[in-house]
């Protein structure tokens, strides 16, 4: 009996996007990161080509955060006091992209400043040759000011700037265009909203080759299934030829998972949750694994052990011993 492998004839392809610029390209990065360009669902090599593996980004902060899980302080130690050292450690841990998130305040509690952000971006760019993302603190007015400074400081480096949201994207997109960067467009778990924001950003003149789409994820146990399905639907739409859904997807399982109780809290939790550290790492790792299966092109992580585990999973999934 012959068994045929059913193949879908997809008509669309995910857009290819490159982050970072080397000296030849007007930047200073020692390497660039290219994601997207696949013409099939995740890792189905037998169906169509998947030229670029999903990438792993590591989240760092411009200063030591106040409210992270103790396990993360333990894992990173002293480097958290210095964004340059942290970025270097991220590179050593195997990251493809350094994902620098700015804080509202500096460590002494005073509001973050344009000067500080410029200095941090400069230090991080000098410390690592990896492409860099610079993400605002999450308050529109502050972000607009700080991100413009970051964009100017990193002019020509093809940074990823974010988050562009429906209510706050114009300034970020404008500065990204003026300084040759890319943007991360985030929408709350909805196919049409994701598409709509890409259109709005594109309408401002930003080329689609410089937009990475963030459909928002939830943590395992806290809404992952919604994000998972929205990502599957977006990717199916892209492969079916819907142009404005063809952006590569970035998601932040690290941020989502490390704020939930299962990852953050070691004591006074049910015994059935098991030991704290392996459970917490599993929380982020399983969330990331599920998101890779639903179409993520970049996952942003926080724990170095998950860099290692997820990397080896991706290596396997991209190896050419294609079965089927």
């Amino acid at each position: 009996m012959t068994v045929e492998t059913p193949k879908e004839a997809w008509t669309g392809t995910v857009r290819e996007v490159t982050l970072g610029a080397t000296a030849d390209q007007g930047g200073t990065r020692s390497r660039t990161l290219t994601v997207g360009a696949e013409s099939t669902l995740p890792f189905l090599h037998f169906e169509a080509s998947i030229p670029n593996p999903p990438a792993l980004a590591l989240e760092i902060r411009d200063r030591k955060p106040d409210d992270w899980s103790p396990l993360l302080y333990e894992a990173w130690g002293d480097v958290m006091d210095d964004p340059a050292a942290w970025a270097k450690a991220a590179e050593e841990a195997g990251a493809d992209l350094v994902y620098l998130v700015l804080s509202l305040t500096t460590s002494d509690g005073s509001p973050n400043t344009v000067e500080n952000v410029r200095a941090v971006v400069r230090k991080v760019l000098d410390a690592t040759g990896l492409p860099l993302a610079v993400i605002g603190a999450g308050q529109a007015e502050v972000d607009n000011e700080l991100l413009v400074a970051a964009a100017e400081e990193g002019k020509g480096e093809r940074l990823l700037l974010g988050l562009c949201e429906e209510k706050n994207y114009r300034t970020i997109v404008a500065t990204a265009m003026a300084n040759e960067h890319l943007v991360q467009s985030r929408t709350p778990m909805d196919v049409n909203l994701a598409k709509q924001l890409v259109i709005l950003i594109n309408d401002m003149g930003m080329p689609l080759e410089r937009i990475v789409m963030d459909p928002t994820t939830g943590a395992l146990g806290y809404g992952i299934e919604y994000g998972y399905s929205v990502m599957e639907r977006l990717r199916l739409a892209a492969l079916q030829g819907d142009k404005m859904t063809q952006q590569p997807m970035i998601v932040t399982p690290g941020e989502e998972c490390w704020k939930v109780k299962e990852a953050k809290v070691g004591e006074g939790v049910p015994e059935t949750w098991g030991d704290w550290e392996p459970r917490a790492i599993a929380w982020e790792g399983i969330t990331a694994a599920a998101l890779l299966h639903s179409g993520a092109n970049v996952v942003v992580l926080r724990h170095p052990e998950n860099m290692r585990r997820t990397r080896s999973m991706i290596d396997e999934l991209m190896s050419s011993k294609a079965a089927g």
């Binding site: 009996m1 012959t2 068994v3 045929e4 492998t5 059913p6 669902l41 995740p42 890792f43 189905l44 090599h45 037998f46 709350p188 395992l220 146990g221 806290y222 809404g223 992952i224 299934e225 919604y226 998972y228 399905s229 599957e232 639907r233 199916l236 704020k259 109780k261 299962e262 953050k264 809290v265 006074g268 049910p270 015994e271 059935t272 949750w273 098991g274 030991d275 704290w276 392996p278 459970r279 599993a282 929380w283 790792g285 399983i286 694994a289 599920a290 299966h293 639903s294 585990r309 997820t310 080896s312 999973m313 396997e316 999934l317 991209m318 190896s319 011993k321 294609a322 079965a323 089927g324």
Partner: protein
């Protein structure tokens, strides 16, 4: 795949004799397609047509059931490739592999602990489904290992037995339960099928290729065993994803009967992959049974939560009943808090308050099953709704105070709420549930 009226018509006698009480064979065929008539109403249909029609009506992936002393597990019967298209119905059974080379005492204590494992996730009990017991030496040792496990657990079993002798001993030791017998292959299938048939239990088949598996399922079906499980010998992430996807597509999109069965996987079989992440992949993409080597709670709990998430019906969020809930036997002086009826939200809050030991009233407003911020953004958790819930829930009669604590994430509602609820003091609680105990300690005067 269901047949259309015309396809059914072609299989009928086409004599229009009306014995079925329909005017024509075509009319009857149309009713059959719409499932408004039954095939047995036509006395003249040929055996061959009957078989074709029945097999076309069967689900694309066979439903297979295991029974333990009292627990049961059902897998298969899936109808879609992506959960958003409808839903995934039957969660993969998660089993723990134990070997008969361990002492009876060791087995008992392991099985007893695993049997008792029960984690609470948003009011749902998460458990291991059963044990896969592996024969590593002789039939007597296998039988006594099975008996040992059965003496402490009523959960269904999978018998990992490579020879007919071992299989026989294992099946016998299972009494009147319904285990899965694993495995038959191209060399031993006749004897294995015989054993499975006699015991009336499902049989797993192992094949190196899908072709080999497809031939095996045909032969074994002809030998009289209908409930089959496939083991394509998957190892690693890539082969797993590609083969499981191929199998699911063959069943759902091509109605390919010979491979329309649930698949069993062993994510820990190949040590080069991380078992937990591979099992996560198997949960997301299409496994029927997953046999784990390692069931430490720190691994099992997140995997069970993932399985629960992937298999929830995307059309209806898991919800709790809107009502006034009592936590830790509150009296009239206890604080009153409001939250939404999204299960994850309710239980995050209820568990924190319960764990803190504070007696409290928790009022759950009907927010159509959405989280605090989602509901707020969608206009389902606004001042008007909350005020209505306060008035309707009877809190005013039960409390000696008029203070309402709202979630920190919706602090913006406090002004409006004070207008909607004259005489009430609106207190803004913390943003995250974990901070509630600290907040009450600081802000609530008894």
């Amino acid at each position: 795949m269901a047949l259309t009226g015309l396809e059914i018509y072609k299989l009928l006698p086409q004599t229009n004799c009306k014995d079925c009480n329909f005017p024509t064979c075509l009319a009857f065929a149309m009713k059959l397609a719409a499932k408004q008539a039954e095939l047995k109403d036509c006395p003249h249909v040929s055996e061959e047509a009957k078989e074709k029609l029945e097999s076309a009506a069967a689900p694309p992936i066979r439903l297979v059931e295991l029974h333990g002393g009292n627990g049961k597990v059902q897998v298969g019967n899936e109808t879609v490739l992506f959960r958003h298209e409808k839903t995934f119905y039957n969660m993969p059974g998660i089993f723990w592999r134990l070997g008969d080379d361990e002492s009876v005492d060791e087995l008992k204590s392991k099985a007893k602990r695993a049997d008792a494992y029960q984690a609470d996730y948003v009011g749902i009990d998460l458990k291991l489904d059963g044990f896969a017991i592996e024969a590593k030496s002789d039939p007597a040792a296998f039988a006594s290992a099975i008996e040992a496990v059965r003496s402490v657990s009523q959960k269904p079993l999978i018998l990992l037995a490579s020879t007919p002798e071992l299989a026989k001993a294992g099946v016998e030791a299972c009494g009147d339960t319904r285990p899965l017998l694993y495995y038959a292959d191209k060399d031993n299938w006749q004897e294995m099928a015989e054993i499975a048939k006699e015991a009336g239990i499902p049989l797993a088949l192992r094949g190196a290729t899908l072709e080999e598996l497809a031939e095996l399922t045909k032969s074994i079906q002809e030998a009289g065993v209908e409930d089959l499980i496939l083991d394509p010998g998957l190892s690693g992430h890539l082969e797993s994803l590609q083969q499981l996807t191929t199998l699911r597509r063959l069943s759902i999109k091509k109605s390919f009967r010979p491979l329309g069965y649930p698949v069993i996987t062993f994510p820990g079989r190949d040590e080069s992959s991380n078992e937990m992440l591979l099992a996560a992949g198997h949960i997301a993409k299409y496994a029927g049974f997953i046999v784990l080597e390692n069931v430490d709670p720190s691994v099992l709990y997140p995997l069970l939560v993932l399985r629960q998430n992937i298999y929830t019906d995307p059309q209806k969020p898991i919800q709790v009943q809107p009502a006034l809930y009592e936590i830790n036997s509150p009296d009239g002086d206890a604080p009153l808090m409001v939250t939404t009826n999204f299960s994850i939200t309710y239980f995050s809050v209820a568990n924190e308050v319960e764990g803190s030991g504070w007696p409290a009233w928790l009022m759950v407003a009907d927010a159509e099953g959405m989280s605090v911020l989602t509901a707020w953004a969608a206009g389902k958790f606004d001042a008007e709704r909350i005020a209505k819930a306060v008035k309707a829930c009877g809190a005013e009669e039960k409390l000696n105070h008029k203070k309402l604590i709202i979630p920190g994430h919706v602090a913006v509602l406090s002004g409006e709420l004070e207008e909607e609820l004259p005489g009430w003091e609106i207190m803004v609680g913390p943003r995250e549930a974990v901070e509630i105990a600290g907040y009450l300690k600081a802000m609530w005067q008894k």
